[in-house]
Amino acid sequence: MESESPEFLGVERLLEKSKPGGSAGWVWYGAGGLVLLGLLGGIGGTKPTQEELVVQVASAGMMMLIVIGMGTAIWVKLQRFREEQRRLGEVDEFIQLRRWVEAGLALEVMLSRPMRSPTHRVQGLVYLASVLGRYQRFTDALAVQEYLLKHVQFDRAGEFTLKVGRAMAMLREDHLVDADRAMSELRKLSGGQASGGLALVEIYRDIKTGHAAEAIEIFNKRSVVIREQLGHRAGDVHALVARAQDMAGDEAAAQKAWGDATVLTPARELVRRYPEVAGVAEKYVAAVMPGGMSE
């Protein structure tokens, strides 16, 4: 019989297997044991008989052993926790450096067994959604994001970032109605505060639906917040604006926007993220980092 190897970064499997193991029930057993031994050691009071003295000494000795044992177990757990934290830090660095293969492999290993901490698991799953997006597996990325939003209580900023990622994945999958609903949620969540991430999603939606003028208008209105909040990821917005300007027939503006986009992010990376700008990449001249090394 041929054994089937599991799918690389299989979402259902990783979601199931990464669930943290049993709680530290042994701590309570240990604490209970200490109390029992404490009571047992009380037999005989301050003037014990020979037998009672033996019980008292044995109780004290066992209490010592339990304390040392618990201390050692806590130390070992702490070391494993730190190791997991270190590995997550590595995954974060791989993602920042766009070393997607290494990031994927590290996540596959890490999430294939019960994680030590629920917080680490959540962080690992957030990274998994990013890596799946890089592999163009948007349905899988959406599954992870939906799982996280359903099962985890994020702070407002965390929830917002995750929902921006989810809306982008929906747009990539052409789930335009769902994306529209997701954007409404984002607007509510932002509480009226301008957001670069939301502007990016809205501009992408307008490009997808052929509303070039609206995309350009959003960019003109929110260029400052886009610059301040997105940093080099503002290259994505400039690329989409180049596409919008091209759709609107303003080639000079499209060239400028494409130049700005590629000053911030290499053209190849932009085309990978947004297949819609492939035509722009062919038509307009990209800025290239001196030295000419492209990614």
């Binding site: 200490l34 109390v35 031994l37 404490g38 047992l40 050691g41 009380g42 009071g45 301050t46 008292q56 000494v57 109780s59 004290a60 209490m63 010592m64 304390v67 830090g89 974060d92 660095e93 920042q96 450096l97 702070d155 900023a157 960019f219 003109n220 260029s223 610059r227 301040e228 909040q229 997105l230 940093g231 080099h232 503002a234 400039h238 700005d260 000053v263 911030l264 800025a287 980092m289 001196p290 030295g291 090394m293």
Partner: protein, 268 residues
């Protein structure tokens, strides 16, 4: 608003008290073995309860200001100040947790651009052994170097930066160090040195938030201009304009006015 001196004094006092209590517990545990006529198991139980109580205080203390970095990043300085002050004023037996709170206060002062207070707090954190090594120590040194540069103490900043070269840094720390180092080198006119490995530096700076990245790339653009690498100057200048408010850049680093001598070009 909590004064730096007050926070440092309270931290020192609590660290000393914590050490005394820990030693007392250890000595107490040892003495139990030698004592006669006392209920050994009850004394042991009392010591364990005391130890667990201290551990609990540590967890509570660590949680008090755990959210302050996020609050600082979100610009909610008043709320961060309130939580950090509460944590600094509380007795926390753990040295690391206590120093972390002082480190958070330094980070808050850094965000508030109160450079001398920030530097004072960073120096206080680094005086203690647990903070010298590890992530907190590296973060504190980076913050110290930046605060000293902002306060105009170039020599002090050099000392802080040098301490970091012997340590293994994370990617974020290495990027932060690069930005501080470029700032330092621009102040001592180390233009050639700034341009060494410029492509790698430009790529690393892509990982930073917009403002910091824009400023560092503007400084690199200036170095490119000074060394006659005009292709790099144009490229980095364009990046800086897309990432930062040029007027603000010129105000914070007068030397950058050389890049935009005339009217400031408005970037859409």
């Amino acid at each position: 608003m909590m004064q730096a001196g007050d926070a440092i004094w309270r931290t020192r006092r609590d660290l000393t008290a914590g050490t005394v209590i820990r030693y007392a517990l250890v000595v107490g545990a040892g003495a139990v073995v030698l004592l006669t006529g006392v209920r050994i198991e009850l004394v042991l139980l009392a010591l364990i309860v005391a130890w667990v109580g201290l551990a609990y205080r540590t967890v509570v203390g660590a949680r008090m200001s755990a959210e302050s970095p996020a609050l600082i990043a979100a610009g909610q300085y008043d709320e961060a100040e309130k939580r950090i002050e509460q944590a600094v004023r509380s007795f926390i037996p753990s040295r690391v947790a206590k120093l972390t709170n002082l480190h958070h206060l330094a980070a808050l002062r850094h965000a508030q651009k109160r450079w001398s207070e920030c530097a004072e707090l960073c120096l206080a954190v680094l005086r203690f052994k647990p903070a010298k090594a590890g992530g907190m120590g590296r973060g504190t040194r980076l913050m110290l170097a930046d605060a000293l540069l902002e306060a105009g103490d170039v020599e002090g900043a050099y000392g802080a930066i040098m301490g970091l070269y012997q340590q293994k840094l994370s990617l974020t720390e290495a990027t932060e160090l690069l930005a501080v180092q470029l700032d330092y080198e621009s102040r001592v006119s180390g233009w050639e040195r700034m341009m060494e490995g410029v492509e790698r530096k430009a790529r690393m700076l892509e990982l930073m938030p917009a403002g910091r990245s824009g400023r560092a790339q503007a400084l690199l653009a200036l170095a490119a201009k000074k060394t006659g690498r005009l292709d790099w100057m144009e490229f980095l200048l364009r990046r800086a304009e897309l990432l930062s408010d040029v007027q603000e850049l010129k105000e914070r680093r007068k030397v950058l006015s050389e890049l935009w001598p005339g009217e400031v070009k408005e970037v859409a």
